[in-house]
């Protein structure tokens, strides 16, 4: 070996081969298994079947007393103690394709500004990323929520809208139940949406969405 390398052409060949191996290895790490993920990944933690939360009994309402303000203020922050979420909320509109924009920053969640304000009648919609290119994001643990967990939304006037989780569901993106998630409701509800399921390398996208259904309790 040393004898071979002792010759000048052999040493040059060794350097050339070494550099080629480095290039191949680097390309393999970057494209294959390192920075970009590929293929069909194993599913994230299973999402338990949702069940309706128990109705507290009895609820006494006095219509002679002034009820809560009808015009709900704008939401500014979201807190979900059960999964350690504490984030400000950015405004989200619609993409040209008609889907809801996603937050530019994976560390914050966003409120769809054409959905009802949290606390008003209808489903208020909040989106957040499950992960970034490099690690977890604001809704990484959303699928770990259970019925009964509380979700707090702070509004522009510093008031809180409090919601109770009713159900956590996972839907194939190709069969997303748009009406159930985004459609009208007769009471004040909340939807928290993120990604889940398998990640498709070819699409650079998760194949499912996780949706948390919650109903206002105050």
């Amino acid at each position: 070996m040393i004898g071979r390398l002792a010759s000048r052409p052999a040493a040059i060949a060794a350097v050339a081969t070494g550099i080629t191996a480095i290039a191949v290895g680097a390309a393999g790490v970057i494209l294959g298994g390192g920075i970009l993920r590929g293929g069909v990944a194993t599913p994230p933690p299973a999402v338990g079947p949702g069940r309706p939360a128990d109705i507290p009994v009895p609820t006494v309402t006095d219509l002679a007393s002034p009820s809560a303000a009808r015009a709900a203020p704008l939401p500014v922050a979201l807190r979900i103690p059960a999964i350690g979420v504490n984030t400000r909320l950015v405004d989200l509109g619609l993409t040209p394709a008609g889907t809801i924009e996603v937050p530019a920053d994976p560390a914050v969640a966003g409120w769809y500004t054409r959905s009802p304000r949290p606390g008003a009648i209808g489903s208020s919609i909040i989106l957040g990323h499950v992960d970034s290119l490099y690690g977890s994001a604001v809704f990484y643990r959303l699928s770990h929520l259970h019925p009964g967990a509380r979700v707090y939304i702070r509004r522009a006037d510093r008031s809180l809208a409090v919601f109770r989780v009713d159900a956590v569901r996972m839907y194939d993106k190709s069969r997303f139940p748009t009406t159930a998630v985004y459609g009208p409701t007769p009471d004040a509800e909340l939807r928290l949406v993120t990604c889940g399921g398998s990640f498709a390398q070819t699409l650079k996208s998760y194949l499912s969405n996780i949706v948390v259904y919650a109903t206002a309790v105050s």
Binding site: L5, A6, R8, A11, I12, V15, G18, A21, I22, G25, A27, G32, G33, R37, G38, G39, A41, P52, I55, V57, P58, T59, V60, T61, D62, L63, A64, T99, I100, V102, R114, S115, I121, G122, I125, G128, V130, L133, G135, S136, A137, D166, A167, R169, K173, F176, T178, V181, Y182, G183, T185, P186, D187, V193, T194, C195, G196, Q201, S205, N209
Partner: protein
């Protein structure tokens, strides 16, 4: 007081096809009820909701005055009894009015007292909670005692003609925005500006007012002003497990081997150049 259950005034809609969209996840085993008082000469009521056969009230709404309608309460599906007692009456006192309702999954009901004090009744309306995309839906209910028959128009369009006490229209699609609603009875009329945003559902109620007629607006359900299309792209894959075959180890071995080979080659070249290795 005599218990009257005005079954004749229970137009429980049989139109199961009313619901266009799938009920939400939470709605699959729950429904909604709201309560009110549309009897102008009746006293204030306390309204009790009982799960059928259970003597303990699940919900109590107190001080329900003429024109009041509560917000919706979500209830598990099943049979319920609604009892209305004069405000202040004991919870054990016989109710002034009572009715029963079967709550089915994902459906909403408005349960109100109605009619004159001498002929009080309970009206149960089945409410709609799915809209026609991009439009507003509106329904008209006639509860005026002073006006025997009322016709309601939206601008030049008739929403409901010659509605009698307790009568109501179906849900009608209207263009979203501000509407001028006009109600005309035998001797009195009223005009109300009503905001009906896209993807909302409203009920307009004609009620008596001292010396006239009035229109109350109830929000039955609301959705987003613009319904988004489908799923959301809320992940980049940074925490997805690596795909099969994407194990970086062979590439790392290649990197390390290449580095060693290159270093060895360069060192040898230097030694050849400096003469420490004799080239044959």
């Amino acid at each position: 007081m005599k218990l009257r259950t005005a079954l004749a005034l229970v137009p429980l809609s049989l139109a199961v096809g009313l619901l266009l969209g799938a009920p939400s996840a939470a709605a699959q085993s729950t429904g909604w009820i709201r309560w009110g008082n549309w009897s102008p000469s009746a006293p204030e009521f306390d309204i009790y909701l009982y799960s059928f056969g259970d003597p303990h009230a699940e919900t109590v709404i107190k001080h329900v005055r003429y024109g009041d309608v509560s917000s919706y309460t979500a209830v598990p599906t099943g049979q319920y009894t609604i009892a209305m007692r004069n405000t202040g009456a004991a919870a054990t006192a016989p109710p002034t009015l009572s009715a029963s309702v079967q709550v089915t999954p994902g459906t909403a009901y408005t349960i109100v007292s109605m009619g004159p004090a001498s002929h009080l009744g309970v009206q149960v309306l089945k409410d709609k909670m799915s809209s026609l995309r991009g439009q507003a839906l509106v329904r008209v209910v006639q509860e005026s005692l002073q006006q025997h028959s009322v016709t309601v128009t939206d601008g030049t369009r008739a929403l409901g003609g010659h509605l009698l006490l307790g009568g109501h229209t179906g849900y009608l699609p209207v263009s979203p925005g501000q509407h001028t609603i006009h109600g005309a009875g035998n001797s009195k009329s009223t005009t109300e500006r009503v905001s009906l945003p896209a993807n909302t559902i409203h009920t307009l109620v004609l009620l008596d007012e001292s010396g006239g007629l009035r229109i109350d607006t109830l929000e039955d359900a609301a959705g987003s002003q613009t319904m988004p299309a489908g799923a959301a792209a809320t992940g980049f894959g940074g925490t997805a497990p690596p795909a099969p075959g994407s194990d970086p180890m062979p590439w790392l071995v290649s990197l390390a081997g290449g580095g060693l080979l290159t270093t060895a080659g360069v060192i040898r070249l230097r030694r050849i150049r400096s003469g420490t290795v004799r080239v044959r």
